[in-house]
């Protein structure tokens, strides 16, 4: 379809257009055109991504596609700019591009105080997030991972709601502590892997590391632990989730559209893409612990959401609960569960983004985050109501929509998992189907249904200036109808009925990685996994 040699260029452009575009916005964008330029850049990026995705569908390869290698620092230090997409990353890459595009497109509808700097930061976020999924070098992954943190800290710290400062502290420091520890881990395995190669003293290329994975099993546990810790915070996994609810609640909606659907996937993607493949034996040892934390996350998040009153926090705890499913799927580590977890990463992204955007439309008209101050939206805004209801149903796992397919695969995989060794995890996690219905329907009851509540009791978390701004924006925008959400709904239904179209992307990759791990398990005769 597209000449082969162009594809790496397209991949690079889809990442670098937003990154460079942001520079353009900071330096010379006229204030009026900021939004148009941002939309233009992100649209270009989306178009390129679609081309890549369609191209990928011609062979559904397990190996890395569209790769471009920018060479290493030196012959002995194999650390460099290597990007490409494989079965594990392509859908997440596409999802990021799509959600980022929607976030930038809808920003003025859900947030009043946008300006060039705001859009510039969103563009960096988009480019960096794409980079995280495209990186084929662990150090490059780390750079993009950190790069994404910076604009988010500013978006949250400057444009956030009243308690933005403390939310920013916890968010930044939590993530930073995790990732700095991880850096030490990266260096350790980089040197270890190099010992296999002649004339090389350090390497972080994914391929090199994978080839040396059997060596990592004998490294001290903390090396593996540093990765695990960093990503447990990012995902987040109970009890490392403390940054989450506040950050979601305080951040402006366009930023949340990156934070909740996309950035948490950095963690789960890293787990499946390299943490588990590099440390399969060590991971097998901690599997019961990981699965236990995952199940606790699922039930704990759901239980808190049942009585929470802050709309954004309810969505945050719902997200905590749903991310737990993904981790459980990875812990179960069989083909069914991994495939389910890979799909669920995309599903969670779409559903969470749709819900935050939908409620963003709600909050822009009535900025109180307390759900008791809302009501009767269904009377005036039937389109928005319909979209929110469908997205909520996807979130509670209604079959026919996307969420069910992923959750069913995860749970049936976990039920049958020899790694977990017991059906208990899956059965306990499945209780969440009841709890999810409880908190989600409660949220809908108080916001969408009933009669309109015109007198917000006590506007929470916003200064009067902000309220005025938002009220202006609200009258100016004449209450966006919410048709843009139908894009999400279409994808939800599509995945819901035709999931193989989407699981095909990761199918070959998953079987090859499962095979790889079995090899490592038998590669090390000296190693005794039970001897901790």
């Amino acid at each position: 379809m597209v000449p082969e040699f162009i594809l790496p260029w397209i991949l690079n452009l889809s990442m670098w257009i937003p990154l460079m575009g942001s520079l353009f916005l900071f330096l010379c964008g006229s204030p009026k055109r900021g939004r148009i330029m941002a939309v233009l850049f992100s649209t270009l990026s989306l178009v390129f991504t679609v081309v890549l995705t369609l191209q990928f569908m011609t062979n559904y390869a397990a190996s890395v596609q569209f790769d471009s290698v920018g060479s290493a620092l030196s012959e002995s230090i194999r650390l460099g700019y290597v990007v490409g997409l494989d079965g594990a990353s392509i859908l997440l890459f596409a999802m990021t591009s799509f959600i980022g595009w929607v976030a930038i497109l809808t920003a003025p509808k859900v947030f009043a105080r946008t300006n060039n700097a705001f859009y510039g930061l969103l563009l960096i976020l988009l480019g960096a997030s794409l980079g995280v999924f495209a990186a084929q070098d662990l150090f490059l992954f780390y750079v993009f991972f950190e790069l994404a943190l910076i604009p988010m800290a500013f978006l949250l710290g400057i444009w956030g709601e009243e308690e933005r400062t403390s939310a920013t502290y916890t968010f930044v420091i939590y993530t930073l502590v995790g990732s700095l520890l991880m850096l030490v881990g990266v260096l350790t395995i980089g040197f270890t892997a190099a010992s296999l190669m002649e004339g090389v003293s350090f390497t972080t290329h994914f391929d090199d590391l994978m080839a040396a994975a059997h060596l990592f099993q004998e490294l001290p546990f903390w090396v593996f632990g540093s990765f695990l810790f960093a990503f447990a915070i990012k995902i987040p996994l109970f009890p490392f989730h403390s940054w989450q609810a506040n950050a979601y609640a305080q951040a402006p909606i366009p930023a949340v559209l990156f934070m909740a659907p996309i950035m948490v996937k950095f963690g789960s993607y890293a787990l499946v893409r390299f943490v588990i493949p590099y440390f399969p034996v060590l991971f097998a040892q901690v599997t019961p612990w990981i699965a236990t934390l995952a199940v606790i996350s699922i039930l704990y998040g759901a239980m808190i959401a049942i009585t929470a009153t802050d709309i954004k926090k309810i969505l945050a705890f719902s997200s905590l609960s749903h991310m737990g499913f993904i981790v459980l799927g990875l812990a179960a580590w069989n083909e069914t569960a991994i495939q389910g977890a890979m799909l669920q990463m995309v599903n969670h992204g779409l559903t969470t983004a749709a819900l935050f955007l939908g409620f963003g439309y709600v909050l822009v008209s009535n900025p109180s985050r307390n759900l008791m101050d809302h009501g009767g939206i269904a009377s005036d805004r039937p389109v928005l109501t319909t979209m929110i209801v469908i997205a909520s149903m996807a979130s509670v796992g209604l079959p026919g929509l996307n969420g069910f397919v992923g959750e069913f695969m995860i749970l049936s995989g976990a039920f049958d998992s020899s790694h977990l060794g017991t059906t208990l995890y899956a059965v306990l996690a499945a209780i969440a189907v009841i709890l999810a219905a409880m908190y989600t329907l409660r949220l809908l009851k108080f916001t969408l249904f009933g009669t309109p509540n015109q007198t917000p009791s006590e506007p929470t978390g916003q200064t009067s200036d902000q309220l005025l701004d938002q009220a202006d924006a609200h009258s100016a925008a004449q209450q966006p109808k919410g048709w843009v959400l139908s894009l999400f709904v279409l994808l939800m239904i599509w995945i819901g009925f035709q999931s193989p179209t989407f699981t095909s992307f990761s199918k070959n990759w998953t079987s090859s990685i499962v095979e790889h791990i079995e090899q490592i398990g038998s590669f090390e005769p000296d190693f005794e996994p039970d001897n901790e």
Partner: protein, 683 residues
């Protein structure tokens, strides 16, 4: 594409197309929403055409046997995969005929019923969505596609119960229905996981071929879990509490979803898996006990209700209990038979009640319009569904009156109306189990409970009908002159009533008891047409009774039903509900109050489940989480050097500069990595 595939596609797809068209049409254009009749007609067509397609497919199955249509893979999970496939066989055709046939009539009725409602466009879109989901459920070739329909009907039910969303109690009822169904669905999900683990397939034919290889434990657990799932959906004890509340939805919804079709899904599922269930007598026994218990409990509550729709709701629960008793007695054909007959007479009764409510509402509103403000403050409290305010409606609504009586006699089990044949067949099977080897005495008790409940059924239905239509109008006492505003419902509403009334009379004849002919001619008879049609799908246990016993049971059924109607008429025939109910209360005392308070089941759930869950969430988990966050924030706040630095940057207001600065730094690192060759050469 063959004709059969095409017709299957029409059957499965057209309701979805209808729902989508109506939904998107209504959403996109506010003025379009006012064309309520157009919406209704389109919605009706989206159900009637599939009805015709079902007839064609049925004829095909009759001639050349069952077949499947496959629309590709639904889920591919590596170790197992599930197709988006549909099974067209006698059982699914029977269900599809009921759904689309009665569905069409109820759609027509709704055109009249919803003609004044601003939300009619939504209503018809939801109704089509429901038909779509229900057809997914009964046509599915495997448990997972069935589950699409299973929860899809739950969604439609949720949307329609909460249809009038401005009233908080309606939304509460909708949520309750969804959540209670989810409890059952949880069990259903675990059953599917277990089947995937043990058998590796969810396809019906694959499962049923392998039942012989499943261990007794697996059979028991899968059976029990599926049963729990069915208990939620089909409103059985102890999960039935959502169904009476579901009456908050518009009455056509109650007729279609909460009487004729959706609530029978559990029975359909168990019948579909009947070859598996019969291998686990313990589960069969539990099922029979649940059924009998539900039938009796619901009937006693119906005895004391004053809301016309709630009486019918408890009556539905009770009849569903009969059907579960049938399943538990190994009478799967009889259960499906009762599903079919019940669909007719219960839809008829609900639509009749809708006609009555429509009339009452109209009369109350019209009369209140005449009364000057302040003259009658009590008028706002009048509940158009309260039978205590009715009475004497036989004069003003003759069609509703006559058809309602037909429905009452049919459900009471008076021959030759529909309910008699199916109910008699169920009780005969239970009696047969009672003289069998496994748990015989228990089944005998269940049979006695069933007979008692049959009597109660006739009794409370006559109570309802007599109090509504006979005696003198009592609305006048509360609202003077209201009865002069009474009128019969429009043609779109009475037409379905007549159709359903005819159905309620004759539909029972598709299941005439074979033994009647056999005992006379001494040869094997085949006059039970339904059994001839679906015997291959329903793994019935054999009835081993003598002809004399069967005749005696038949006579017993007739006597009990007639007694029920007779006693009911003597107690309520002249509108003397007050005296009779007071007399019953005095006679039965606390027992009667237990019925009246619905066995306090709602309160039980609230106290034992609802409140503890909320309490744990609010008083344990929330503080733990908040203090966790607070503690950490405080900790980092104390390390002022770090936070002060961040704070200063944030408050400097020169964010653009900083961002550019940082971006440049990162770009530098990236450039180093990209331009590596310049420094270090090729890798």
């Amino acid at each position: 594409m063959s004709y059969t595939t095409l017709f299957a596609l029409v059957l499965l797809g057209l309701p979805a197309v209808g729902a989508l068209t109506l939904g998107v049409g209504g959403l996109s254009n506010a003025s379009l929403r006012q064309k309520r009749t157009t919406f209704g007609v389109l919605a009706t067509a989206a159900v009637y055409i599939p009805f015709l397609a079902t007839l064609y497919l049925g004829w095909n199955v009759f001639q050349s046997g069952a077949f499947t249509v496959n629309f590709g893979t639904f889920i591919d999970a590596g170790r197992w995969s599930v197709d988006l496939a549909y099974l067209i066989d006698p059982l699914s055709i029977t269900m599809a005929l009921v759904i689309t046939g009665i569905g069409t009539l109820i759609h027509i009725y709704s055109i009249g019923y919803m003609s004044h409602d601003q939300g009619a466009w939504r209503f018809f879109a939801y109704l089509n969505l429901f038909i779509f989901a229900m057809l997914q459920l009964v046509m599915a070739d495997n448990l997972l596609v069935l589950f699409i329909g299973w929860e899809g009907v739950g969604l439609a039910s949720y949307l329609l119960i909460g249809f009038w969303f401005k009233k908080r109690t309606n939304t509460n009822a909708a949520n309750k229905a969804f959540i209670f169904n989810r409890i059952g669905d949880f069990a259903f999900l675990v059953a599917m996981f277990l089947l995937l683990q043990e058998v590796g397939t969810l396809q019906f034919s694959g499962l049923l071929e392998n039942v012989g290889m499943m261990s007794q434990d697996t059979l028991f657990w899968v059976g029990l879990l599926v049963l729990i799932g069915a208990t939620g959906k089909s409103a059985q004890f102890p999960l039935f509490v959502w169904l009476p509340d579901a009456m908050a939805g518009p009455t056509p919804v109650s007729a279609l979803i909460h009487a004729a079709t959706m609530v029978t899904s559990g029975l359909y599922l168990i019948t579909r898996l009947s070859p598996m269930f019969v291998l686990s007598p313990e589960v069969m026994m539990i099922m029979a006990v649940i059924g009998a218990l539900t039938a009796f409990i619901a009937a006693t509550i119906a005895l004391t209700e004053y809301d016309i729709k709630k009486v019918l709701a408890y009556s539905t629960v009770s009849q569903l209990g009969f059907m579960f008793l049938a399943l538990g007695s190994g009478a799967f054909v009889a259960a499906i038979f009762h599903v079919v007959t019940h669909a007719f007479f219960k839809a008829l009764l609900f639509l009749g009640s809708g006609s009555v409510i429509h009339n009452m509402e109209h009369a109350i509103e019209k009369t209140r319009g005449k009364i000057k403000v302040g003259e009658n403050d009590g008028a706002t409290d009048l509940d158009p569904q309260d039978i205590r305010l009715m009475g004497g409606l036989r004069h003003s609504m003759p069609i509703t009156f006559r058809t309602f009586w037909i429905g009452t006699l049919a459900i009471a089990g008076i021959p030759p109306l529909a309910g008699f044949f199916s109910k008699d067949e169920i009780l005969m099977h239970t009696f047969s189990m009672g003289v069998g080897e496994f748990a015989g005495p228990l089944y005998m008790v269940l049979w006695a409970v069933g007979m008692g409940t049959a009597f109660l059924t006739a009794f409370y239905m006559v109570r309802l009908t007599a109090t509504t239509f006979h005696g003198e109008s009592r609305l006048d006492a509360a609202l003077p002159g209201a009865s002069s505003a009474f009128h019969e419902s429009p043609r779109t509403m009475t037409f379905p009533l007549w159709k359903l009334a005819i159905g309620s009379i004759i539909i029972g004849w598709i299941g005439l008891p074979n033994f009647v002919v056999e005992s006379l001619t001494g040869q094997e008879a085949h006059i039970h047409l339904l059994k001839e049609w679906i015997y291959a799908q329903a793994a019935d246990l054999k009835v081993t009774l003598s002809y004399a016993t069967e005749w005696a049971l038949l006579a017993g059924s007739i006597v009990v039903a007639t007694m029920g109607v007779f006693v009911g008429w003597r107690s309520y025939g002249n509108g003397q509900w007050e005296q009779t109910d007071n007399m019953l209360q005095a006679r039965f005392g606390e027992l009667y109050n237990t019925f009246r308070e619905r066995y306090l089941l709602d309160e039980f759930y609230e106290k034992v489940v609802g409140e503890p869950v909320q309490w744990i969430s609010k008083n344990i988990l929330e503080p733990v989480d908040r203090i966790g966050i607070g503690g950490i924030v405080a900790f980092f706040g104390a390390t002022t050097r770090v936070s002060g630095g961040v704070l200063r940057i944030l408050q400097a207001g020169l964010i653009t500069n900083y961002a550019v600065f940082i971006l440049l730094g990162v770009l530098f690192v990236l450039a180093m990595m990209i331009l590596g060759p310049v420094v270090g050469g090729t890798p």
